[in-house]
Symmetry: C2
Subunit: 457 residues, 2 copies
């Protein structure tokens, strides 16, 4: 007699029919002391225990949603059951040690809780159907990102978390100190008071690219800004890739290929999860056709349009809303998706003005715009940013100086250009936001296991 996880039972149930097996888990639902639904966390599907022999009836007092249980019994085929199988037990054990009061006053009670309520018990929400479903999709997405780059012969490079420089001038940085509880950052600090948490691995990744050609990094990055929106976190996961000899059009193609690949894998391997999420949204009057939306993106071309053109289109909607040279914000993104292109397709915007893009981007011959892209997704907005990199030592040096950045700190980066003019491009993808899009979940804090944002650790 063997112990099985419920996921494994569903995966191979035909082989187990009429066999006696052991399962452990917790009670998810029960009625009439006869039906007990058990879950063990390996799948969203419960396994139903149906008590036919009165000897094994569990006393009403003893039974409660959320408490641990062990069942030994025969797995039987049952046409009427939506999952095809049930267990007829000949041994049932309730594990003690639980605190009924705690369980019944927690989010584990069998009723609907808002996602913001689940967030108050971040350590218990892994047991809820909605959050475990999101976590399964997240886990597969992470794996398939590695799978994509591995298949395409990229080398994974772990860029450092502890860092000296703020790569992009993008947002505020966290400072670190080894001086534990001391209140002063002095020179006795392990890193001479210069340690910061990375905002991007790009510059380091470029140096790896100069040796290994096709590289990517995938890890946590940090922003110390005090933003409390539905799409910002202090700590989030960023995928970045850098490829030798790639031009802007190659980066556009690669980004589109990656997004389509990931959506295909999610559609194929997370069908149960997507079905559950659609049901969940519909139940709460948010009608989201998640599968249809992913399928549409897989089967259609992305909209590709220049920054200058999108500004013109935005000004046609409202002349005062934006000017050439302004950054495209959330309010503009809404207009782009709802009024200009009402097609629920991703939009690739290219050639942004140099005044709103970082120093390392290659500049077009118009000398005003950069060889850059942003990719926007409906509802979510910017998901990818990328560019061709400046490869001329002189031009790069000039831009670092013009931006009032510290040349000394960036010398190592500048020196890479002394290896010769080797064109290269790269992009970064905010993975948590991609999970928001796939799952249709509104707040980024609900697609991350342990969300870190101002005031919340």
């Amino acid at each position: 007699m063997k112990k099985y996880y419920i996921k494994d039972i569903y995966d191979i149930y035909k082989k187990l029919i009429n066999k006696k097996i052991i399962i452990k888990g917790w009670i998810k639902y029960y009625r009439n002391s006869i039906f007990i639904d058990i879950n063990d966390g390996t799948t969203i599907k419960n396994l139903q225990v149906i008590i036919k022999n009165k000897k094994f009836l569990v006393k009403e007092k003893e039974i409660n949603i959320g408490i641990p249980i062990k069942v030994i019994g025969k797995l039987v085929y049952q046409k009427k059951n939506i999952n095809n199988i049930e267990i007829i037990p000949n041994y049932i054990k309730i594990y003690k040690g639980y605190d009924l009061n705690y369980i019944n006053n927690s989010i584990l009670q069998n009723k609907y809780h808002k996602l913001s309520k689940l967030r108050e018990e971040v350590y218990l929400r892994f047991r809820t159907n909605i959050f475990s479903t999101i976590m399964r999709i997240r886990s597969l997405l992470f794996f398939e990102i590695h799978n994509f780059f591995n298949k395409n012969k990229y080398i994974l490079i772990n860029t450092p978390i502890i860092n000296k420089n703020n790569a992009e001038g993008a947002g505020e940085v966290f400072k670190i100190t080894s001086l534990g509880d001391s209140n002063n950052l002095t020179s006795k600090d392990l890193f001479n008071n210069e340690g910061k948490l990375t905002v991007s691995g790009q510059l380091e990744l470029e140096s790896a690219m100069y040796g290994l050609a096709k590289v990517y990094t995938f890890g946590p990055v940090f922003r110390a800004d005090n933003s409390n929106t539905f799409k910002h976190l202090s700590e989030f996961w960023m995928l970045e890739s850098e490829i030798m000899y790639y031009k802007l059009k190659d980066i556009i193609n690669l980004s589109i290929k990656l997004i389509k690949y990931l959506f295909k894998k999610i559609l194929y391997k997370c069908k149960n999860e997507l079905n559950y999420l659609e049901e969940y949204h519909n139940k709460h009057n948010r009608f989201k056709k998640l599968k249809e939306r992913l399928t549409k993106i897989i089967n259609n071309k992305f909209i590709i349009i220049s920054y200058t053109k999108i500004i013109k289109l935005l000004k046609k909607v409202d002349n005062n809303i934006i000017n050439w040279g302004d950054d495209i914000g959330s309010n503009h993104e809404k207009i782009i998706f709802n009024k200009i292109f009402n097609m629920s397709l991703p939009i690739v915007i290219y050639n942004f003005p140099k005044c709103i893009k970082p120093f390392y981007m290659n500049i077009n011959t118009d000398s005003d715009t950069t060889k850059s892209i942003d990719i926007l997704l409906p509802d979510i907005g910017e998901i990818i940013g990328g560019s061709e990199r400046e490869i001329s030592y002189k031009k790069l040096l000039k831009r670092i100086k013009n931006n009032n950045m510290n040349v000394k700190d960036l010398n190592w980066y500048l020196n890479l250009r002394k290896l010769g003019k080797i064109s290269h491009s790269g992009f970064g993808l905010g993975v948590d936001r991609l999970i928001q899009f796939i799952t249709g979940i509104n707040n980024i804090r609900d697609v991350v296991p342990f969300p870190i944002y101002p005031g919340h650790i």
Copy 2:
């Protein structure tokens, strides 16, 4: 005519014979102005260009190791060439913009440099044969770790980097602040002056396990200790897994299965890299049979022995060297591998005294030892630590108090035990050290892309 990366050319060269192709890369070696070896970072193997038409001879002045070059030519089969193929060019272009003086005074000169010398130019060493080889093995190992857990239906959970508590009391922690250049950590800080860098994701991972049964986390962890040894870093990558219903023997089996799986994959997929490393070691009089050593471990049982027994064996060697209750240090590990078990096999030591293990480990009925393991590898020492976890609320509370830890901070962790007595176990693996072992590289700083250690960012 298509552009190919060199790795792809070698992978499908039979299809490309007598075809005209484009390659780009940098000069790795040349002689007589006739032979030029080109590398593009995608593989350790160079591609040889052989100039038969004098029209395409490159001037001696123009040629230099390390400079970028583009070649268009016919790929031909050449039996005499160790790699089977060569290119006969009808177009050669040297890209300008390089700085000969910089290249010739860097580690890219064509001569042997010690690994410690390469570390001084961390941004260039990706172009050296030895370091790019290590990076390829590292990249595959990371991928195969995800592959192993994905295949076995584990859910990846990203435990947070910014953290409140020092999970294990294991080593010093870094503190973070959002107050940029201010010298005071005040309450205006985004995280109320409580933010620390994680030393382990285990406690958070346990909470995810209570909902998802089989989980793992894989990310950077940090130690603020001022240790400058060949096996310590301030920032390193740790794999941790936590599994519901697992007992100590299951954790031992899982750890062994994982190590054997990873070694098999490396042996099979990184043959070229291992061959190169063996050559490299032999050239510098360090005779390391890397492949043989991995094969032996794959094909043999690990040594499994209790802490109490290993102490007895150590005391037999030298009665003064250790006492029951002491931690096993590097000096003891050497004796264990060189004098006690001279077999180059991993050693699993179980049942460590509770006085040297953290508060969350389950205690044996002897009330002195814990249900714990360490796995040691020859040369490297401890690579894995794991245990069964304490599942009784009362016992856990008592140990937290006895250890003078803050009950309030750990309340969320304690509360998980109110869900009932659900046994579970887990382990952590220091991945950088595993790469040290596989590659035979002595210093951990040489197996990490950007090593962070005291004084060095």
